[in-house]
Subunit: 217 residues, 2 copies
């Protein structure tokens, strides 16, 4: 038993991992094997060890629960509403990331799976809210980061890029506005090549600094 | 005594309140009356009650330590490095805000004071890092929010506004770039009036939607 003069909360880390597959934004979930919410799907995570950093805890419990390792995590928000866990006061420090589908290999048996963000089952605890806030943050991040380019080949058309934006921001984007917005970011340049297709040839673009694909601003 | 089967960390909330006074970005600090770091300056805050929400804890401990109440707080980041508190594992959920100087009335005796961000004494714990991260987040926020307008009179020149940006972002800004950037945000419009001064008359601007001054994006 561990005793304290003042009451202490429990603290977990939880991870929201997004990917894009089959033209859909998906989130990695695990099925809970124990109460509370036994049998429900939830975000991977678990209680911190007192000796480990929060991000290390997020990485450790993510790997333990899903087999995924070596991803870059960014802290999202800390959720601490009393009553969010029926057992005791539990504060969840949430992390999130977006990864190319080919980059991670979660276990696919054993209650681990990718779910479309709009179609996943109701999650345990307040994990629906955590996943929704992560999705909003991710959509906002597209406007000031280069994360979308992690999903592009070396050369791509603006339509290809717009398609990724539309999947993540989950709305149709006006083509002319998109062109203006994305060129204003000054991350890409015309490669000099064009792609021939059924329509008129489309200008191909490439990243100005391919080493600078970052999840962070 | 409070006992648990697994070790639990302690959790605090801490608040970084910024204001602008005498053309300088200042942060509100409190002098610690007890160990650890007795006599050092620190960010206001304290241990959470298990029954209260994290934001309520931030508001309660802020008022207890500084007399400040009724401010809008936004969660900044959660700091949990092992060893950041010499007593035990303590995780700090940090909040921040920017308030007009006239809006808050902290106690000014009793170890409470505004300090210039570049000139405050070394702080207790990792509070220097927390304050620095809050200052960076605040500077970034200017580019996609309307918070700077809380420091403007009803009508103002672009130079007035640029001055506030320069104080918060702590760097000189090119006048033409600033004009382009701030007009692109589409928050302000020319009021039709001009201010006469020692130079040629300057166009006065006003907010398009004065009710929409928000700290949040």
């Amino acid at each position: 038993m561990f005793s304290y003069r003042h009451p202490h909360p429990a603290v977990t880390t939880n991870v929201v991992i997004f990917t894009i597959v089959s033209d859909s934004l998906k989130v990695l979930l695990v099925r809970r094997a124990r109460p509370p919410f036994e049998g429900s799907w939830a975000l991977p995570g678990g209680f911190i060890d007192l000796a480990e950093d929060l991000e290390d805890s997020a990485m450790r419990t993510l790997e333990r629960e899903t087999g995924v390792r070596g991803v870059y995590l960014e802290q999202l928000y800390t959720f601490g509403q009393p009553g969010r866990d029926p057992r005791e006061r539990v504060i969840a420090v949430a992390y999130y990331t977006l990864v190319p589908f080919e980059r991670v290999k979660p276990r696919t048996h054993d209650g681990v799976g990718w779910f479309a963000l709009d179609e996943h089952p109701k999650l345990a605890f307040d994990h629906d809210e955590i996943a929704a806030i992560a999705a909003r943050r991710l959509a906002a991040k597209l406007d000031y980061s280069t994360i979308a380019f992690g999903f592009m080949p070396e050369e791509f058309t603006l339509s290809d890029l717009q398609h990724v934006y539309e999947i993540i921001q989950r709305e149709e984007i006006d083509k002319r506005n998109f062109r203006k917005r994305v060129l204003a970011l000054n991350h890409i340049e015309a490669s000099g090549e064009r792609r021939n297709g059924s329509h008129r040839p489309a200008t191909l673009y490439r990243l100005k600094n391919p080493g600078q694909i970052t999840f962070i601003k």
